[in-house]
């Protein structure tokens, strides 16, 4: 009975993911991962003996503990990679916002020519290293 429940959960999850991709709520790239999770649920749900056999070969006395431990580990890794990706995105957004501000100021300076850049003032002793190594 329990195996049937997790198998059904897997099928519902898969359908939900397909629905989310259809409605553009989920990027296909991430949908792939979640479909993988749903398939794992279905397989392990309908064929729980896989886990039992794996547990026996690894010397784990109670199969479901192995399933839960593996599942939790995968989950933690996934959440960690999510936060890594979020940090990267945050860097990108901050640098974009900064760049927009710089361009906005530059536009205004060009439009009004308020203050000439220092390179002109000081007779350009060294070339202004614009863009060097910057995104």
């Amino acid at each position: 009975m329990f195996s049937l429940v997790s198998g059904v959960i897997g099928i519902i999850a898969a359908l939900t993911i397909i629905f989310l991709i259809r409605r553009d709520h989920l990027h296909v790239r991430y949908g792939l991962w979640w479909i993988g999770v749903a398939i794992a649920f279905v397989i392990l749900g309908f064929f729980p003996q896989i886990i039992d056999r794996l547990a026996a070969s690894l010397g784990v006395a109670y199969g479901p503990v192995l399933a839960l431990t593996l599942g939790l580990t995968v989950f933690v890794i996934k959440v960690l990679t999510l936060d890594i990706a979020r940090s990267r995105n945050e860097t990108r957004i901050i640098r974009l916002v900064q760049r927009i501000a710089m361009l906005e100021a530059e536009m205004q300076r060009l439009a009004a020519s308020i203050e000439p850049p220092p390179a002109e003032e000081a007779g350009a002793k060294e070339p202004a290293p614009r863009e060097a190594g910057e995104d």
């Binding site: 940090s87 945050e90 860097t91 957004i93 901050i94 640098r95 916002v97 900064q98 927009i100 501000a101 710089m102 906005e104 100021a105 300076r109 308020i114 203050e115 850049p117 220092p118 390179a119 003032e121 000081a122 060294e126 070339p127 202004a128 290293p129 614009r130 863009e131 190594g133 910057e134 995104d135």
Partner: protein, 233 residues
């Protein structure tokens, strides 16, 4: 004899991050312009008051941020801009008037003379006992030796500006420990310069304004200082 006249040629800029500082921004900008004659760059961190207009009126060049990036995000924008525009030295100061332009000359000294890459205006007399305890903890965690690690009154040379303009410095939230550790680990020479600071006349510290924020700040900075401790580049 004032060295300002010689320094005019040295391509220095003053960077001031500001968030809702309409009360003091104009006088700070005017005072800096009057004392040094250096161009002033105000980075506006999404103010909802008249900060931008008042800063422009006072003669500052304004970088308006379209999203609020916080104190360091705004400051980095200014340093990045100054670096791209070819300035060789950048002085940073707060917009609330607690840093006095009269000390600028003293702060610029060691960097312009090539004795240091970064000079930090330190005022150890300020701050409560709790703040001092925080400094001791932060210094112990990060291994920093500066007197006043939270001071935003600093002068950076071009090497420091380049380093701070990079991606590595982008995810920082505060300009103290993270920035100083980054500079130190890159082998830059940092010096303390004794100055006095005025008490804030308006607003409150952007770091120490509520208990929850203080706890977050301490946890953030301790973890950051500790995890970056032994990095050598």
């Amino acid at each position: 004899m004032s060295p300002w006249k010689d320094w005019r040629e040295r391509r220095c800029i003053v960077v001031i991050p500001a968030h809702n500082e309409q009360r003091d921004i104009a006088s700070v900008v005017r005072e800096v312009r009057r004392v040094s004659g250096f161009p002033v760059l105000v980075v506006d961190d999404c103010s909802t008051d008249r900060t931008i207009a008042l800063a422009r009126e006072a003669g500052a060049h304004v970088l308006p941020l379209s999203q609020q990036l916080g104190a360091w995000g705004a400051l980095q924008t200014g340093i990045r801009h100054a670096w791209r525009a070819g300035y060789r030295y950048a002085l940073t100061m707060d917009a609330d008037g607690q840093h006095e332009p009269v000390w600028m000359e003293r702060l610029f000294g060691p960097v312009l003379e090539g004795k240091a890459d970064v000079s930090i205006g330190c005022c150890v007399r300020r701050g409560s006992k709790l703040r001092k305890l925080a400094w001791i903890l932060l210094k112990a965690a990060s291994g920093l030796k500066m007197e006043d690690i939270t001071s935003g009154f600093r002068v950076y040379n071009r090497r420091a500006m380049e380093l701070l303009s990079g991606h590595e410095a982008t995810l920082l939230e505060f300009q103290d420990v993270g920035v100083l550790v980054l500079l130190r680990n890159a082998g830059l020479h940092l010096v303390d310069v004794d100055v006095t600071m005025l008490p804030r006349t308006s607003g409150s510290s952007r770091v120490f304004h509520s208990w929850l924020v203080v706890v977050y700040y301490m946890a953030y900075t301790l973890l950051l200082g500790f995890s970056k401790r032994r990095v050598r580049r």
